[in-house]
């Protein structure tokens, strides 16, 4: 080499340094190759491979040359060729190799940072405030984060290893003391012993071969507490509203009572006035007409002051009394039902038949025949009035009656010839929600 220093000792030292550099370059290229292999970036291997070969060739040449150990003619010729190269060229080759490896290392580092690996996914999910667990059918867990692992431990006392076993534990309610399951709308919520509330939700991700399910637990403590507070307020409001409605019903009665009282006060005043009239009549000796008028007024006032007769609350009695006042007899065979809603339906039917008979048939007897089977109650309404002129068209009251009966699960038949009749069939068991 023509640029080698004249001092042989210095020459050897420089070549030893160069050998060391080429060794490092070689080792760097090997590491680079291994990293690229791990990253499965096979295209870049073509860049690392020349660096390995070149650095190894340099290292071998420098070692052979400095140690003077070439023992074959081929080796001697190579070393001779190498020795004839200018020193700056070897140096430049090393620098270029170092630069190339540096660039490749930088690329490997950048790729490592930008690549999503299972570990990076795990790290990311661990930083989530919600618990998340991916599992396959059968409960085999694919991935879970720290939050759901902590949740599982607090809720069940076990480490989360089988999602389906965990879900079964939640469903059966075998939780740690102080924990409970509640429903918030349609969402199941687990309240832990530390009063934190967690909402559970599940999602199915369809893969190519099998379905992966995602279980999520979200901390909804604040929302849960506010919901509880809201429910409490709503219950209070509901209770107050019921009281208000009750109070208002009372007020109507009180208003009516007040009206009666006012009228009684008026009659009291009128009584006073009547007494004065009596006194005047007795003192002055009034006429017969005047006496009759005073007696009539007194009678009316005393009747009113005797108070209100209790109103008849029974629907059947009301219908029978009304019919009797109108000269109609209601004849019942069998037993009228006393339970609701049968009673209300039968009373409505009586009302309708009575009205229709008075209006169209001019009869004075309404017959009601009641029979019972195992499941049904049958009532047939007929009258002694004239038969309808033609087919009866159901409208108004009859149509409403049919709706009422059908709502109760019953049936109604209307007969027009040879005489009018209505047959009602009601199931004995009817929800009293009509």
């Amino acid at each position: 080499m023509n640029c080698v220093p004249a001092n042989p000792l210095l020459d050897k030292a420089l070549w030893a340094v160069m050998g060391l550099v080429s060794l490092f370059l070689f080792l760097g290229a090997v590491v680079l190759f291994a990293l690229l292999l791990r990253q499965k970036r096979y295209g870049k291997l073509w860049a690392a491979l020349p660096a390995i070969l070149l650095s190894y060739f340099l290292f071998q040449c420098i070692c052979t040359y400095t140690a003077d150990v070439a023992n074959s003619s081929a080796a001697i010729s190579v070393v001779t060729w190498f020795a004839s190269l200018p020193g700056w060229l070897v140096l430049l080759t090393c620098v270029l190799l170092a630069l190339a490896e540096g660039l490749l290392f930088r690329g490997v580092g950048a790729y490592e940072k930008s690549r999503i690996t299972p570990l990076s996914v795990k790290e990311a999910t661990d930083s989530l405030p919600m618990g998340i667990c991916a599992y396959l059918s059968g409960g085999q867990i694919v991935m879970m984060n720290q939050a759901i692992a902590d949740f599982c431990l607090k809720a069940t006392g076990n480490v989360l290893s089988d999602e389906e076993a965990f879900a079964e534990q939640l469903r059966s309610g075998s939780l740690q003391p102080g924990c409970k399951t509640v429903m918030l709308g349609e969402t199941p919520v687990i309240v832990l012993a530390d009063d934190t509330a967690w909402a559970l939700s599940e999602e199915i991700l369809s893969g190519e071969n099998e379905k992966t399910r995602i279980l999520r637990v979200s901390d909804i403590t604040e929302a849960y507490q506010k919901t509880l507070a809201l429910r409490s307020v709503q219950e209070k409001v509901s209770s107050l509203n019921q009281q208000l409605a009750k109070a208002n019903r009372e007020i109507v009665n009180l208003t009516a009572a007040q009206e009666v009282l006012n009228a009684k006060i008026k009659i009291h005043d009128e009584l006073g006035s009547s007494l004065l009239s009596i006194r005047r009549y007795l003192q002055s000796g009034g006429s017969e007409e005047e006496r009759e008028e005073i007696v009539g007024r007194l009678r009316r006032n005393v009747t009113c002051l005797k108070g209100e007769p209790e109103a008849s609350a029974d629907e059947y009695e009301l219908m029978t009394e009304t019919a009797a006042r109108l000269g109609v007899e209601i004849a019942v065979t069998g037993e009228l039902p006393q339970m609701e809603p049968h009673k209300r339906i039968l009373a409505t039917a009586m009302h309708e038949c009575l009205t229709n008979m008075l209006r169209h048939a001019d009869g004075d007897e309404l017959h009601i025949a009641l029979t019972e089977s195992e499941k049904n109650l049958v009532a047939v309404f007929t009258n002694n009035g004239k038969a309808p002129d033609g087919e009866i068209r159901e409208k108004g009251g009859l149509a409403s009656l049919r709706v009422l009966i059908e709502q109760a699960g019953g049936a109604m038949k209307v007969r027009s010839v040879p005489s009018f009749a209505i047959q009602l069939e009601l199931p004995k068991e009817v929800e009293n929600a009509l």
Binding site: L244, N248, T255, E259, T322, L354
Partner: protein, 212 residues
């Protein structure tokens, strides 16, 4: 031939008052006097009734306006006079919608009852210009808007703001706005006090609902 009159009123005092009006005139004859509106149409069907005097609010839950609607539909020739002591303006409004012949406030007698009956039988329709003015707190009943009256009526039934909004097809904020307006107009301390006093004053009667 005297007109046959049916009296429907749950208060014996009022019934006797009307009976005395009827018996005092030879132009009228008492057909029946009953304390419930449930059977009013039956009397009309069988009693050849010419005139019905109908109270609105009955103790047994029936109401004269529903009965009036039934009678008007089935017996259009029967004359109907609504009589009430309740100043709820919806009674008057609904009576007009039903097509009754007259409306008479028991407490505010603009004309004698017999005169009203005579004019009705002569084919006249008689309605007061407005319901009697009553006070609810600091406000007179005439000071409320139609919408406020609607809200007040439903409020008196004990419904929550949300339920009122659903019933009246209003937004929740609109209901709150009207309730606050009512509270501020009347000077009531709360919605409960407002509802109780509204019923007490007779401005609204929660039990009487329109027949669907």
């Amino acid at each position: 031939m005297p007109y046959k009159v049916l009296i429907v009123d749950d208060q014996i005092m009022s019934r006797q008052l009307f009976e005395s009006f009827v018996s005092a005139s030879d132009r009228y004859e008492l057909a029946a006097s009953v304390d419930t509106a449930k059977v009013a149409d039956i009397y009309c069907a069988g009693g050849r009734i010419d005139l019905v005097l109908l109270d609105v609010v009955m103790k047994d839950g029936s109401n004269g306006l529903d009965a009036a609607a039934q009678i008007r539909a089935a017996y259009p020739k029967v004359k109907i006079i609504i009589v009430t002591s309740m100043p709820d303006p919806t009674f008057l409004q609904r009576a007009k919608e039903i097509g009754v012949d007259a409306f008479w406030y028991k407490e505010v007698q603009e004309a004698p009852m017999l005169e009203i009956m005579d004019r009705v039988m002569a084919g006249e329709q008689i309605f007061p210009d407005h319901p009697p003015v009553t006070n609810l707190g600091f406000a007179k009943s005439t000071e409320f808007t139609e919408r406020e009256m609607e809200v007040l009526r439903v409020l008196a039934e004990g419904l929550t703001d949300k339920e009122i909004a659903a019933r009246l097809h209003l937004s929740l904020s609109a209901v709150r706005y009207h309730v606050n307006n009512l509270i501020s107009k009347t000077g009531q301390s709360s919605r409960t006090e407002l509802a109780v006093n509204a019923v007490r004053s007779g401005i609204t009667i929660p039990e009487v609902k329109k027949e669907k």
